[in-house]
């Protein structure tokens, strides 16, 4: 039944955020058959996440409508990559079933996720990521009249707070862990990116506090209050929600699974966004955090390079350089304070899937020992959340991803038998 879901294409793009959409649009005039996969219900990625009542920026609407108008681009939403099937096919799972997508070239635009760090109470309902709350609101979560505290680090805090406010929430405090001096230095350099300076001014909030961090979330079955520490005070704020994220980390799992070289936690790419493996490119946040402007230009370069237009791709290098400098400035400004490593108490859960407390990990030497002793990182999220936390807390390298990349249905795995290039396997059993 689901063989019909299988696809063959010239160019497969994983991720329908700014990088993936821009890559598809640049490659489309070549006539290549292009498929874009995304695990979200609608295209746009995180920054251009669409939903009921969401008003997308003009650039996003324009890009999406141009992609939709291209007859040779197909977008599959709700499609999650489960495994790599060499040579050049991915096993995916969609609501309708599993499918193999084979391609000649591949562009990874798998984006980034939030770094979520453990502190007492962080597992209480009502505590979300900062971008997490933003995403949930765009999906229709009603926060009107709710008291929200935003905390963690990075520009996403201001963006998340703005989304919550627009949705009718009362944002009581935005606790940025980076110090005031670092932020002032960052702000002074913003004239080089006038659009970003304007954005910062627009998002600015009088409740923004540099040099402060949440160290405890309080509540019984649900969040009731948070405690925030700054250099000179400890504050307890009653609230309904805490939106807390400590910057972004590249989603490298699929790249790693394919064998792409990883440098500094991101998929390594050359001047044409090519990864270390043949016919595979990467663009956007999975190659290092940098924001949508960088993702767009990287996506364009990857799309041009993957469709045989290296000269035009190379012409975009100066633009990419400009946004890479912005990314570097961000990285310098929002360095995580080592004091955040001291937030978990012995019974604070670090692995939320397997409920593994800090105390069970503190004596371990590395991931392997931690996994064997405690099942840390072996639950449903496969270490995506605790892996990044533990890397920050203990300096352990995150566990290497293994297929299936996500919990998956057995029928999906059966699609592996459809592989064209493999010798015919056992004939299908009747009645299955």
């Amino acid at each position: 039944m689901s063989v019909a879901l299988n696809r063959e294409c010239d160019l497969l793009i994983v991720g329908a955020g700014p990088a993936g959409l821009a890559a598809a649009l640049e490659a489309a005039p070549s006539g290549a058959r292009i498929v874009i996969l995304d695990d979200n219900p609608r295209p746009g990625g995180q920054i251009w996440r669409d939903g009921p009542g969401v008003r997308l920026p003009r650039a996003a609407r324009r890009l999406r409508s141009r992609v939709a108008a291209a007859a040779n681009i197909e977008i599959l939403c709700g499609a999650r990559v489960v495994a790599a099937c060499p040579p050049k096919a991915l096993l995916i799972e969609m609501p309708e079933g599993g499918a193999l997508v084979s391609c000649t070239k591949l562009i990874l635009c798998t984006g980034a996720r939030e770094r979520l760090l453990p502190f007492p109470g962080w597992t209480l309902p009502g505590v979300t990521g900062a971008g997490g709350l933003q995403a949930l609101i765009k999906g229709g979560l009603d926060v009107a009249g709710e008291r929200v505290v935003v905390a963690g680090s990075g520009p996403l805090l201001l963006a998340g707070a703005a989304t919550a406010r627009t949705a009718g929430a009362k944002v009581l405090q935005i606790a940025e862990q980076a110090g005031r001096e670092a932020l002032v230095r960052f702000g002074r350099g913003l004239w080089r990116w006038p659009g970003k300076a304007l954005q910062a001014l627009r998002l600015w909030s009088p409740v923004y506090r540099a040099g402060s961090h949440v160290f405890e979330a309080l509540g019984d079955q649900r969040l009731e209050a948070v405690r925030i520490r700054s250099a000179d005070a400890v504050l307890e704020i009653a609230c309904d929600r805490l939106a807390c994220g400590f910057g972004l980390i590249p989603n490298t799992q699929l790249g790693e699974l394919l064998g792409c070289a990883i440098v500094n936690g991101a998929i390594a790419v050359d001047a044409l966004q090519a990864t270390s493996i043949a016919d595979c490119y990467a663009a956007g946040e999975c190659t290092g955090f940098g924001g949508s402007e960088l993702a767009l230009v990287e996506g364009r370069i990857a799309g041009l390079a993957a469709s045989g237009q290296p000269a035009r791709a190379a012409g975009l290098a100066p633009q990419r350089e400009r946004w890479r400098r912005f990314a570097a400035a961000l990285e310098r400004a929002f360095v995580l304070d080592p004091v955040l490593r001291t937030l978990p108490t012995p019974d604070t859960l670090v692995c939320r899937c397997e409920d593994v407390p800090y105390a069970a990990l503190a004596g371990c030497r590395d991931w392997v020992e931690a996994k064997l002793a405690s099942r840390c990182g072996m639950g449903a999220c496969q270490g995506r959340t605790c892996g990044a936390a533990v890397e920050f807390l203990f300096g352990w390298s995150p566990p290497a991803p293994r297929p299936p990349l996500f919990p998956v249905r057995t029928e999906t795995l059966l699609r592996l038998a459809d592989r064209r290039h493999s010798p015919p396997a056992r004939p299908a059993e009747p009645g299955r």
Partner: protein, 86 residues
């Protein structure tokens, strides 16, 4: 308005919203009970953390990445004695 059947109870929700948003609007602040017995709710909002996995039409799916559909049946684990309104 689509109708969801949550723990056998039919309830109407706004069209186009995520299951995560719908459950919160219907008063289900908790969507899952952790292996240690604690209440959990959506965390990352983007399909990474798996905290919002709920049984939709018999299959475990992520509430944050699933859009409501008329007739969808959702079953939530409940804490003892809390009737799922945790």
């Amino acid at each position: 308005m689509p109708e969801l059947i949550v723990n056998d109870r039919p309830q109407q929700v706004a069209a186009g919203i995520s299951v995560a948003a719908a459950l919160a609007r219907l008063g289900h602040g908790t969507v899952r009970i952790s292996v240690g017995g604690a209440p959990r709710a959506p965390l990352c909002g983007m399909g990474v953390c798996q905290e919002c996995r709920v049984r939709i039409d018999g299959r475990l799916q992520l509430a944050c990445q699933t859009v409501v559909r008329d007739g969808m049946r959702i079953s939530l684990e409940t804490l003892l004695g809390q009737g799922g309104q945790g």
